[in-house]
Amino acid sequence: MKFLRVLKNENQISGETVQQAYYPEHVSNFSIKTVFSGNRTFNIGKRQLSLYPDTFVAINKGTTYWSKVDSSVPVNTLSISFSPSFLSDFQRLQKNNHRYLLDEPFQSGEHPDFSFMETIYPFSGDMKYNILHLKEHLEEGIPNDMLINEYLHHCLINYYKVYNKEVVDKSENLNFLNSTTKVEILKRLTLAKEFIISHYNKDIELEDIAQHACLSVNHLLRTFKQAYGQSPHQYLIRVRVDRSKYLLKNTKYTINEIVEIIGFECPSSFIRLFKGLNKVTPGKYRTGN
């Protein structure tokens, strides 16, 4: 199913299911993109981000990027583009009290630019619930702009919550006094995290991650642990196990096939790790017992 919905306020939502597609280089408004099956690759400058059903990507207004889908399974994608005026109104609503908004109901001058960290974020909780509801309504073809805008407003509320948790809180964890240093370190750690998520099923070495993040191995190990509370290797294992949970619940692959897909070499070590992290074996997790 393919749909494109352009609202009167220029917010735009599109979705489709494809196995092979190429989306040429272009520039858009601030947008949130996700997939519900398979994976889609985004290229932003020299960075390559692979999007899976448990992640979404946020792209800033004015960023040039291209993307492609090349998958053995159908990939269900959704893209939400927020108009600058909608984003600006949302910011004003969050920042100001009702009295101020009554006295100053309209934004004066140009819409300010908002710049978020462009990266992969976890797609779960309220963010996922709201986007799934929105997708369902759009596929049914609901005509009401007001309701769609309500969902988009809540998408932004939830994105801010995710952003605070994944960016602001993580930067606070870093033991640096200088805020500029904190921001720069977090940017590089974000590159490391993206690299792990995008290459989770490959045989990646710590040196590869460090080189991608422009940090020495020791610096990466120390700061990654500070920010995320775990080592890059533990993070990689977590990503692999989380991906296996998705595959167990949503596909018919055997456990041995899943072990291979997520880049583990030995099924028994995977089962042991899975049980250690989730207190249940993969087989029982799949059946829900």
Binding site: S124, Y129, N144, Y151
Partner: protein, 144 residues
């Protein structure tokens, strides 16, 4: 008026334990005028009678109403002498924003905007008698 809200998919006697404990299956709504209370439930928040229906039902009778989300409301009327104060009534939904929007168009007066808490997304409104009602979409946050 006593209201018991059950989901059609669940057995009435043996309900599955839930992660969140906010779910209640029985609550009391106080109404001075029974016909006005029923009009609110049927006309404003969209519950449909499952059988022959008038806005005045004799006490001791049960009345069954269904909403479009598959929820069932069993109304059991009892005449009370005391002037007890308002209770909070929870209506469960599978999509809070959809029903919030639907109720706004039906003229329901909301006292808050939809907001998140540990149980999910909820919004509060007042019924015809000023009773405080909550529209709650329970969400499970432990899944991958």
């Amino acid at each position: 008026m006593s209201i018991g809200a059950y989901n059609n998919d669940e057995p009435a006697q043996a309900t599955q334990p839930r992660v969140f404990s906010l779910r209640v299956s029985y609550t009391t709504e106080l109404a001075a005028q029974l016909d006005t209370a029923l009009q609110f439930v049927v006309r404003k928040i969209g519950f449909k009678p499952s059988g022959p229906f008038t806005y005045s039902i004799p006490s001791e009778d049960n009345l069954i109403l269904d909403d479009t989300n598959g929820n069932r409301l069993i109304i059991n009327c009892q005449k009370l002498e005391s002037n007890d104060k308002i209770k909070n009534i929870i209506f469960y939904t599978d999509d809070c924003l959809r029903d919030y929007h639907k109720y706004i168009l039906l003229g329901v007066e909301f006292t808050s905007r939809p907001e998140y808490n540990g149980s999910g997304l909820q919004v509060n409104f007042l019924d015809h008698a000023g009773n405080c009602c909550t529209l709650l979409e329970e969400r499970i946050y432990t899944e991958t």
